[in-house]
């Protein structure tokens, strides 16, 4: 799926998630976030604390956040936050590059938001967790500055079997996306 065909809209509704301001309780276990989490993600759209917990639920929360981040970045056409949280993910790097190139060319995306449209099929793998899911890609297009669609970029709504591998980073105290595929 090209980003042009990714003219993305999230069923996750791109509601901004705020980092928790509450410290863990005294009964916190080792699976809960530490109080000194380094900042991660855009300042006004940080990685939520629940996505920085090194367990299955944390991995799933991180992927939900990352899909929301893609939707957010498509609106503001800035690829760097996607690269920062997925430095080894080829598809993520490609999406980030497409956004930067669209910005340089004065283009914008219409629609194309991504929504996670199923529960995850989650399996622990050597690198972290493999998360399989269905993604719904809203109809959309890449638009020229004039507002006309770039030829070949208009797409109808699609439901695509998708998957990601997320891997834990001790340095960042967070999950990172290692691989991602839509369709």
């Amino acid at each position: 799926v090209t980003v042009a065909a990714l003219a993305l809209v999230s069923g996750c509704s791109a509601q901004e998630q705020q980092a928790s301001t509450e410290l863990p309780s005294a009964s916190s276990t080792s699976a809960e976030p530490t109080p000194e989490l380094p900042p991660l993600g855009p300042g006004d759209f940080p990685v939520p604390d629940e996505a920085r917990v090194q367990d299955e639920a944390g991995a799933e929360a991180f992927l939900r956040y990352y899909i929301d981040l893609i939707n957010r970045q498509i609106r503001i056409l800035e690829g760097e936050p996607l690269r920062d949280l997925a430095p080894e993910c080829n598809e993520c790097l490609r999406i980030a590059r497409d956004l930067d190139e669209a910005a340089e060319a004065g283009r914008t995306y219409r629609g194309s938001d991504i929504a996670i449209d199923s529960d995850f099929g989650t399996a622990e793998v050597e690198e972290g967790f493999n998360l399989a899911f269905f993604a719904q890609i809203a109809s959309g297009a890449l638009l020229e500055a004039s507002g006309s669609p770039v030829p070949g970029t208009e797409s109808e709504v699609q439901r695509l079997a998708s998957a990601a591998i997320v891997t834990w980073s001790n340095e960042r105290q967070s999950w990172l996306v290692k691989a991602l595929n839509f369709g």
């Binding site: 080829n90 598809e91 790097l93 490609r94 590059r97 190139e101 199923s118 529960d119 995850f120 099929g121 989650t122 399996a123 793998v125 493999n130 399989a132 899911f133 269905f134 079997a161 998957a163 990601a164 591998i165 691989a179 991602l180 595929n181």
Partner: protein, 301 residues
């Protein structure tokens, strides 16, 4: 170490994605070449010699729904997806036996939901995923030199270049003015009036490849040790539109023209692409004298 030859059936071949199923066949020698597996692709099936850890995951439970779908991509294709460019390290050489197509490729796979809902590698399908649904991102299985002759891939730019080098390109001759002998102090004009573009249609493994060749630079070998070459990006023209001249002292000189050719190509009517490289032709030499003119007083009668 157990070595098995895997019989691999190509179930679907579209968009550079090959859906493969695997069946173990007889044990065979496994001539791994420096990390490059010896993989032979046949019409409708692939024979690949792999060993060790690769063997088990390559074997599908059922030929109806293979355990994995597979695709092969070049390093350049992968790099272009990431940053839009290819680096020199993306182009890795492979031994090229005559009449074979061997390319350095990355074999990638992803697991598929089986009829019983199970997925290879203990992955878990999302609820409601039918058999055949992919359940993981594409992951690299192995990379190396693959013999893909039987898949009959379109000619690569490098393959087209190997044909381009052997095309009977015109050997343009250097023309000079004045005709015959020149005069010292009078510049000699060089030009060529032969065609500087040529179109060739060649058959490369059944593909119609049209190569549009064009002269990209002209090196005029003057034969004058004092200034042996003149390089231009045009063929020059005769007097009075001349643009290439050389001043000789008196003597006998042999001049010639070396032309550098570039080209674009199409495959079965595809969009044009550049042939990655140039070739040269050498025109026949021409020899002429340059004379010293002396003023002579003559009686008017």
């Amino acid at each position: 170490m157990t070595r098995l030859a895997q019989r691999v059936a190509v179930l679907v071949s579209a968009s550079s994605t090959f859906l493969l199923g695997f069946q173990a066949t007889a044990a065979a020698d496994c001539p791994l070449i420096g990390g490059c597996p010896d993989v032979n692709f046949g019409q409708g099936e692939i024979f690949t010699n792999l060993d060790g850890a690769f063997v088990t995951p390559l074997v599908a439970k059922s030929m109806e729904v293979p355990a994995y779908e597979w695709r092969m991509r070049s390093l350049c294709e992968i790099s272009q997806g990431i940053d839009g460019t290819c680096s020199p390290s993306d182009f890795r050489p492979c031994d090229q036996p005559s009449e074979r197509v061997v390319r350095y490729l990355v074999l990638e796979r992803r697991a598929l939901v089986q009829e019983d809902g199970e997925v290879a590698d203990d992955l878990v399908a999302p609820p409601g995923a039918p058999a055949g649904t992919p359940v993981g991102p594409w992951v690299e299985e192995i990379q190396g030199c693959f013999d893909i002759t039987q898949l009959n891939p379109p000619p690569s730019p490098a393959e087209v270049f190997s044909y381009f080098e052997r095309l009977p390109l015109p050997e343009l001759e250097a023309r000079h003015q004045p005709p015959g002998s020149g005069l010292s102090g009078l510049p000699v004009i060089f030009y060529t009036d032969e065609g500087t573009t040529e179109t060739f249609t060649v058959d490369i493994r059944g593909f119609d490849v049209i190569i549009n060749a064009g002269a990209t630079s002209f090196t005029w070998n003057t034969g004058d040790p004092a200034d042996p070459t003149i390089t231009t990006d045009h063929p020059g023209a005769p007097y009075p539109d001349h643009a290439i001249t050389h001043d000789y002292t008196s003597g006998t000189y042999t001049a010639s023209l070396t032309v550098t050719w570039g080209a674009t190509f199409t495959v079965d009517g595809s969009a044009p692409a550049n042939v990655p490289g140039t070739t040269t032709t050498q025109g026949s030499p021409v020899t002429f004298d340059v004379l010293q003119a002396r003023p002579v007083l003559v009686h008017p009668n």
